[in-house]
Symmetry: none
Subunit: 194 residues, 4 copies
DNA sequence: CATGAATGAGGCTTCATTCAT
DNA sequence: GATGAATGAAGCCTCATTCAT
């Protein structure tokens, strides 16, 4: 059950994210957003405290979803690290595709948040990283992954590789998002060499 | 031999890049830049046409250097694709470390460029990608890399992984930039699995 | 019925015209205008797109009024050219007196308009001239005016003579504006010679 | 004999007048003038005290020439007022044609002069008017012109008619400047009516 | 004489936010 | 609850003029 209120907020967030992605946060006016939706400025300020709050909510929404997902995956019982990694990469890629404009804004506009908001984001980011590291470590412990693997560096590599999708992935491109995930998973597990 | 003029321009670019990185392009005033350097507004506008021109030059400088590097590496004779890949990844990582603030700006602020400038950047980006793809293809042709490798996706994975460094690498961190490059290289070539 | 909006716009136009007349368009600041009226800068820009728009509207207002008037006079039925000329000269003189500051700006500041705006003005000017010429031609055709009269040159002479009023006419001067019109009319029709 | 100095000054005045006419005094930069001539800013300021001084000199040059001319014409012995008027109109028209850009600037830009400069110009203008009035009065006294003629109003009419030429006269137009003068002279003396 | 790099005050404009209705 | 007219602080940029060389 979604209230009228929540619908309006979501509509504002989605529209804003699309505009922020296209033109940049600072180049989008409140009036651009309200015009696109067909509401008035006053109505906007009835639902949001400020322009920055849009940004904050875009960040919170995205990072919470992502952090929840990795935590869940990590805690699935009876799964090898390899299987978890597979799930993780595909989930991560899909998450970026599904929230494309939110993600783009997420990566580019955090300088426009207040310091507290930035600190909060960074904590969530660290948490995300922490769980990826844990999965890699599990693989090493299980003896599946090479013993000399550096879990943190590898995690950062994987996260980077996946995040970067937001820069180039297109729904009408050569590969579907799942295929991309599969290719990334294979690269990371087996490498390029024969 | 570097002229006085060029020195001033470089100083402005470096100072601007640092400020843009820290606060975001739109949150930095021309007066912030000139105050930091100790010059007057007029002096700045004697050397630059506009604030946007700073951004343009930051972009051109970085992308040109990167595109030159990958082209060179590709054309080194008597090198296997594996060796070229090694060079490329390390060069790329180092490039990001050495131009950290420029790169951060590069990835985050291009919405503030004019359409023509954006188009130019995209072309250079494509060129960069093209050469990475060629190196991967060489590896496949040489029989070194797996035959079923998708060169473009793999290239995008590698580029993403390396680019992402700008988000987390710190000179006083656990690993040096060369070590990071080595870890990435091994991951990409051999994978995580035993 | 005049809306609040239209009143504000008119007030801005009149105040601006007076200031432009006195100090020149380029020597008048937006803040001079708003201070004189007692409004804020923001309020001004809520009603006008730019400073140049003031100029454009001053031009459009004046020239439209003038062009309408001459067209009307030309089309009045059952009037000799001589009678029309009388009306025209007096109407023209009065128009300049009544819109003194607008007219002064009109004659002096068009270099500050955009090229398109200038072109538009010139077309309206040509239209004005066209109708004066037609009246003179009517007089020649009617056999009232000398057959060897050059309608265009004479029209330009009359228009110049009348326009020039903006340079010297004062309401507290020796002659009223109607008397000036009468003197001009007699000069043009009968000449100086006995 | 013209010194190098005077040549430079004249060149600057002519070039400036042309640019001022085309773009308006305030829209022309000192650098525009110096670039057109091929001199440096420093060199300009070696010859001129300020930008305003250009304007002042343009004004002085033109108005002095015109005032001298009308005074001379008035004082030619053994000439009827009618003959003087003929000379005057033609001289005035030619003066405007020959100094077109100077005259345009003269009529449009005096708001950019200092108050003292403006006062000086107005005095010279009054002097010019005074002599035209005297010629008309002479005609009335001689019994050539109608007794009820208002010399001042008629003078202002003639001056306006002639001055206005700067707005429309073109060297490649239908009539030469002398023909225009002749037409104006006839209109003023004999009128339009048969 | 001649240069041209350097100055810095000040103008036009934008836009997030408010609040009376 | 909803509106949208009004605000006003602040930023980018210009350009006449100077002066060390």
């Amino acid at each position: 059950m979604v209230s009228k209120q929540e619908e309006v907020v979501q509509l504002i967030l989605d529209t804003s994210a699309k505009l922020f992605e296209k033109y940049g946060y600072n180049n989008v006016r409140i009036s651009d957003i309200t015009r696109d939706i067909g509401m008035t400025t006053g109505f906007f300020y009835y639902h949001f405290r400020s322009k920055e709050q849009i940004l904050q909510m875009i960040y919170e929404n995205y990072i919470s979803g992502a952090a929840d997902a990795v935590r869940e995956i990590y805690h699935i019982p009876n799964l090898t690290a390899q299987e978890k990694l597979n799930l993780l990469i595909k989930r991560h890629c899909k998450g970026i595709r599904d929230n494309h404009s939110h993600v783009s804004v997420f990566f580019r506009e955090y300088r426009n948040l207040s310091e507290e908001a930035i600190k909060l984001i960074q904590e969530k980011n660290s948490e995300y990283l922490k769980y990826v590291v844990k999965i890699i470590e599990q693989g090493v412990d299980e003896g599946l992954f090479k013993a000399d693997v550096n879990p943190k560096m590898v995690s950062l590599a994987i996260i980077g590789m996946c995040n970067w999708i937001y820069q180039w992935f297109k729904d009408d491109g050569e590969k579907s998002i799942d295929e991309v995930g599969e290719i990334f998973y294979r690269l990371v597990t087996s490498g390029l060499l024969k």
